[in-house]
């Protein structure tokens, strides 16, 4: 009899880290280690359509906006020019999302986004 509440609790706890069904809202991260240094990138996609990116505790990109359309997302941010649109295909796998380039004339954003995967952190 005591197993059921425990199982329920575990399921509830586990559900906290499961990303919402196929959308970007929330915080995601990507940790990589290069030449002995660990880099953690955290992306925050907010309900108002804005997003920020933080690298090792420092704001990397801010003031951007995103629009999801099914399995694609459009980005606008000041990295190159706020009016430039970056369009990427979204692929959700388990607790992660991967970005594939569709079109983006902003080289810096393209290099930092195409092929990148982010792991879901939480819905905040």
């Amino acid at each position: 009899m005591t197993k059921f509440p425990c199982l329920l609790t575990l399921l509830l706890l586990a559900s906290c880290s499961i990303p919402p069904a196929h959308h970007l809202l929330g915080k995601w991260n990507n940790v990589l280690r290069r030449q002995g240094v660990t880099y953690e990138f955290v992306a925050s996609f907010k309900p108002d359509g804005s997003y920020d990116g933080v690298l090792n505790g420092k704001v990397l990109v801010s003031g951007g906006t995103y629009e999801e359309h099914g399995d694609t997302v459009n980005f606008h941010d000041p990295v190159c020019n706020i009016s430039y649109t970056g369009q990427y295909l979204l692929k959700y796998v388990n607790d992660s999302v991967y970005f594939r380039l569709l079109s983006d004339s902003c080289t810096l954003r393209r290099e930092g986004t195409d092929g990148v995967g982010l792991k879901y952190l939480r819905n905040k």
Binding site: D52, K58, V59, G63
Partner: protein
């Protein structure tokens, strides 16, 4: 020796030690981070005048901790009162920089670390002589053997100094706390950030974690007459690089006046005034970037907001 004299000696030594550590206390929270033996040795070297020809100046003479490791003089004064030609930049937040010095002549922090020691206008001590000195100093012999398992050498010196500088990263700013944790930020700074990304267009060059990028730009401070520092071109020998300088990081910028490669602007407001209408300051620049071809038309309130945003990039560890 009487007990009273012994007590007096101890008191004097204690007070002397406290006085010697005063320079560091202003950045104590930055400096007191857990530091391994390599950066700790680098810190000792950074503050030690043993690395200058006249044993009177150290790296910290021009990279002063209380000013975010920058200098307050337009151009720094080296050994024997020799006047340099460029403003000493902050050595904080340099970990991920791909170029060092205003003209980018060094590609790594390790390369950079030795250059001011040997530069005749700065510390004027050939690196070989610096190593000889360290090898004659019992503290450094012991320290290098302990840290690197060998006697002092140039590679160890460069490694230690670079490791110390890599410890000087800051992200505890009102701006970061606002963006990351939704902490409060004053409205003026928020408006300034919008201007930074919008009307003022600063973000076109100042972006990334330290608000610079990997490029060199000509912002119009070369005219071939009074402003004759050719900048990056002296390194690359490419005429297209004439008057170009490394884009400066903006973290802790409020503490690092004066500004630009030659320290010609005494305050943030002077910098903003310059960008607002460069022609008013330098009427016939050579090769100025097209980004600066038109005045920004910022009003006084907007200039104040932009300045408030720049001040929000100051590490709390430096203003406590």
């Amino acid at each position: 020796m009487s007990p009273i004299r012994v007590a007096a000696c101890i008191l004097v030594l204690t007070l002397a030690a406290a006085a010697l550590s005063c320079n560091d206390t202003q950045t104590s929270s930055v400096m007191s981070r857990s530091m391994g033996p390599v950066p700790a040795l680098g810190r000792r070297l950074f503050f030690d005048p043993i690395l200058s020809a006249d044993r009177r100046i150290s790296c910290s003479s021009c990279h002063r901790p209380q000013f975010a490791f920058a200098d307050t003089s337009a151009v720094s004064i080296g050994v024997f009162g020799r006047k340099g030609t460029r403003n000493a930049p902050s050595v904080m937040n340099v970990d991920q920089q791909p170029h060092f010095f205003w003209d980018g002549r060094a590609a790594t922090l390790e390369q950079q670390a030795l250059m001011p020691i040997a530069n005749p206008m700065e510390m004027d001590l050939p690196v070989d002589l610096a190593i000889e000195r360290l090898r004659s100093d019992s503290f450094y012999i012991h320290a290098f053997r302990s840290v690197f398992q060998r006697n002092p050498d140039s590679a160890g010196l460069a490694t230690a100094l670079a490791a110390f500088q890599r410890m000087l990263e800051t992200s505890d700013t009102p701006f970061d706390e606002w963006k990351i944790n939704d902490a409060k930020l004053n409205d003026s700074a928020k408006r300034g950030y919008a201007l930074f990304n919008g009307k003022a267009g600063c973000v076109r060059c100042h972006f990334g974690t330290n608000f610079n990028n990997v490029e060199f730009r000509n912002i119009g401070l070369y005219d071939g007459k009074k402003l004759i520092d050719s900048g990056r071109a002296a390194i690359t020998h490419d005429p297209r690089d004439l008057g170009k300088f490394k884009i400066g990081p903006l973290r802790n910028i409020a503490l690092t006046a004066p500004y630009m490669h030659n320290g010609m602007f005494r305050s943030l407001r002077e910098v903003i005034d310059y960008y607002n209408d460069p022609d008013k300051v330098v009427s016939k620049p050579v090769g100025r970037d097209v980004f600066l071809s038109q005045p920004l038309h910022l009003n006084e309130a907007e200039k104040g907001d932009l300045e408030a945003f720049l001040r929000s990039l100051t590490s709390r560890s430096l203003i406590e």
